[in-house]
Amino acid sequence: MLLVTVRLPPGATLAQAMRHLGLSEKEVDTGYGLVLIDRVDPGQSLYGLRVSEAAARRIDPAAGEGPYSDPRIEPYGPPS
C-alpha cells in the first residue's frame, strides 16, 4: 500500500475521496480511512489515504497526488 493525497472541501469523507479518485473499496485501506493533512484554504483541505500500488499508479494526476512512500519507522534506541 502507498499514500496518495487528494484535495477536497473541508469535512470530506472517505467515500467522497474514493469517488473523486475513481477507486473501489478493494483498492483502499478503509481501516486507515481519510486523514486530514492540511487546510489549504477555507474551501479546500488536503487529505491522505492508503491505496494499493496498482491503484496509486492509475490515479489521474488532475484528481490526486502521489504515490508517496510509506516507509517503516523504528525507535532510535537503545543503539545496537
Binding site: 500500500m1 502507498l2 499514500l3 493525497t5 485501506d29 481501516g31 486507515y32 480511512g33 486523514v35 486530514l36 493533512i37 492540511d38 487546510r39 488536503l46 491522505g48 492508503r50 494499493s52 500500488e53 502521489g66 504515490p67 508517496y68 512512500s69 510509506d70 516507509p71 517503516r72 519507522i73 523504528e74 525507535p75 532510535y76 534506541g77 537503545p78 543503539p79 545496537s80
Partner: protein, 452 residues
C-alpha cells in the same frame, strides 16, 4: 604531520628543563631545525633515561629499571610540525644533520573515548535533573502543569514510570490515541522504549500531562516492500491537531516527542522521486509536520543513532543519516550528549537532508533512569535525548504558550541560548550546543520585561 622531537642539548639545559622551578621555552633548548616548524607554545619536557641495574642489558626495557633525570643522561622533548610531503626525507635526515636530535616520534591527535551503545550508564537521572536546573525551572513556575506532552512511540506504562520517578504521573487517556489495529489501553502498555521516553520527558516537566500515542506498535498489512508505518504517524499527527485545536487559542501548548525514524533508503522511494520521504518536504508526513508547527505545536525529533564513531547496526544511509522529518526545518532535531557534556558516539551528525543545519541542539542521554530495559541499562540513544529536551520545552510552555512564543521563536531561543561546545557557533556534531535552561530563563525574563 605533528611530531615530538627528542633532543639531547647540553647537560645544564637538560637540568634546567628537569627543574620544576625553572621556566624553559623551546627556543631555550633548540635552535631552528631544518624543515621543522617548532611549536613555541609547547613547554619542553624532560625525559628520564632508563638505567638498568648492575650487569643489566643496556638496550632492554624488559628488566628492572631506574630512571635518571641527571643532566648528562636525560633528554628533552619539543613539539613541531613537518610538512607531509617532506616527512620521510626529514625523518631520515634530521638525526644525521643535527647530532642533538635523538629521535622523532608521531604526535597523534588524541580524543576522549566517546560513550557508545553497550557502555554502562554515565550518571543518573538525578544528574540530568541537576544539569537541567529543574529546581530553578520550578521556582519560575515552569513544571509542565497544564501542558500536553505527546509521546509517539511504543506505548507508555505509567505505573512503571511513576514507580521509578517516585511520584505520580499525569496521563490523559481521553486525548491518547491508538493507530488502527493496535489494542491496549493508554498508560498500560508493556514496559519498553515508549516508557523510557515518557520517563525522560518528566524529568524537566514533572507536572506535564502525557498523551500516549503507540504509533510504533502498528504493523499494517500491505502488498509491497514499501508497506510500513509512516502512514500511522500521519494519522497520529492528524489526531494531535484536533487535540491542539480543542485548546483555547490563548493557552495552546502541545509538545510532541518523536524518538524514531526510518533507517534505510530501501524502504523509501529514491531521492528525486516525487514520492520520496527522506529528502522531500512535499511528502504528506512532512506537510503535516509543517501544519502542526503553524498551528502552535512544538515538534521534536531525535537526530538518530547513526553517528560516525559507533553507529547503530541498522543504519543504512551511507551519508547524511538525518533525513525526513528528523531534519525538517520546523522541528527541533535533538542530538545526544552524556552527563559529562560529551557527544555520545552514536549521535547522528549533520548535515541533514531537508535542512543542512542539523542537529539543532543536544540534550542528555545514556544515563540510568527509567530502567525500562533492566536495572543496569541506561536510558540511551538520541531516543532519550529527545524526550529530555521535550520535557524542557514543556516546562517553558507552562508560562509561555504558543500565543506568547511561537514554536519557531522557541526553537530560535533554544538554539541561541545553547551552550556552544565547539566555540565556533553551529557545528554538525553538537548543533548550536547543549540546551541551557538557565540562559533560557534569563532570556525569557528579559522578553517578559520588554513586553510589559
Amino acid at each position: 604531520m605533528r611530531v615530538l622531537i627528542q633532543l639531547r642539548p647540553s647537560p645544564d639545559v637538560v637540568a634546567a628543563v628537569a627543574d620544576p622551578t625553572v621556566t624553559m621555552t623551546t627556543a631555550d633548548v633548540s635552535s631552528p631545525l631544518p624543515g621543522v616548524v617548532l611549536d613555541p607554545s609547547f613547554a619542553p619536557v624532560a625525559v628520564p633515561r632508563p638505567v638498568p641495574g648492575a650487569g643489566g642489558d643496556p638496550l632492554s626495557l624488559h628488566q628492572p629499571l631506574t630512571f635518571s633525570f641527571a643532566g648528562d643522561q636525560a633528554t628533552v622533548l619539543v613539539r613541531g610540525e613537518i610538512s607531509d610531503d617532506e616527512l620521510s626525507t626529514r625523518l631520515t635526515l634530521l638525526p644525521t644533520r643535527r647530532r642533538e636530535v635523538v629521535g622523532v616520534f608521531a604526535d597523534p591527535v588524541i580524543e576522549p573515548i566517546l560513550t557508545c551503545g553497550g557502555d554502562a550508564p554515565v550518571g543518573d537521572w538525578r544528574d540530568v535533573e541537576r544539569l537541567l536546573h529543574v529546581a530553578e525551572l520550578a521556582s519560575e513556575g515552569m513544571d509542565g502543569s497544564g501542558v500536553a506532552l505527546a509521546v509517539l512511540d511504543t506505548g507508555i506504562n505509567a505505573a512503571h514510570v511513576a514507580e521509578h520517578l517516585g511520584r505520580d504521573v499525569i496521563l490523559d487517556s481521553g486525548r491518547s490515541w491508538n493507530p488502527g489495529g493496535v489494542s491496549g489501553t493508554a498508560g498500560r502498555f508493556k514496559v519498553d522504549h515508549g516508557t523510557m521516553c515518557a520517563f525522560d520527558t518528566l524529568i524537566a516537566a514533572p507536572r506535564a500531562t502525557l498523551i500516549d500515542i503507540p504509533v510504533l506498535l502498528s504493523e499494517r498489512p500491505g502488498g509491497s516492500a514499501l508497506d510500513g508505518l509512516l502512514s500511522d504517524a500521519v494519522a497520529a499527527l492528524a489526531h494531535l491537531r484536533t487535540v491542539l485545536e480543542d485548546q483555547p487559542l490563548e493557552s495552546r501548548s502541545l509538545v510532541i516527542s518523536n524518538s524514531w525514524g526510518s533507517f534505510s533508503p530501501r524502504w523509501d522511494f529514491p531521492v528525486g522521486h516525487t514520492g520520496n520521504y527522506s529528502d522531500s518536504l512535499a511528502h504528506p508526513f512532512n506537510l503535516i509536520v509543517s501544519s502542526l508547527d503553524q498551528a502552535g505545536a512544538d515538534v521534536l525529533f531525535a537526530a538518530g543513532n547513526c553517528g560516525r564513531d559507533c553507529k547503530d547496526g541498522r543504519c543504512a544511509y551511507p551519508e547524511r543519516p538525518i533525513g525526513g522529518a528528523n531534519s525538517h526545518p520546523s522541528v527541533l532535531s535533538v542530538g545526544g550528549v552524556d552527563t559529562l557534556g560529551r557527544r555520545v558516539g552514536y549521535s547522528s551528525q549533520g548535515p541533514g537532508r531537508l535542512t543542512a543545519n542539523k542537529p539543532d541542539i543536544c540534550s542528555y542521554t545514556h544515563f540510568s533512569g527509567s530502567k525500562a530495559f533492566g536495572d543496569g541499562e541506561p536510558d540511551s540513544g538520541t531516543s532519550a535525548a529527545c524526550p529530555v529536551a521535550a520535557g524542557l520545552v514543556a516546562a517553558i510552555r507552562t508560562q509561555w504558550p504558543s500565543s506568547r512564543l511561537s514554536p519557531a521563536q522557541l526553537r530560535t531561543l533554544l538554539r541561541r541560548t545553547a551552550d556552544d561546545r565547539s566555540d565556533v557557533g553551529f557545528d554538525y556534531d553538537y548543533g548550536y550546543g547543549i540546551a541551557d535552561p538557565l540562559e533560557m530563563i534569563d532570556s525569557l525574563r528579559r522578553t517578559a520585561r520588554r513586553v510589559a
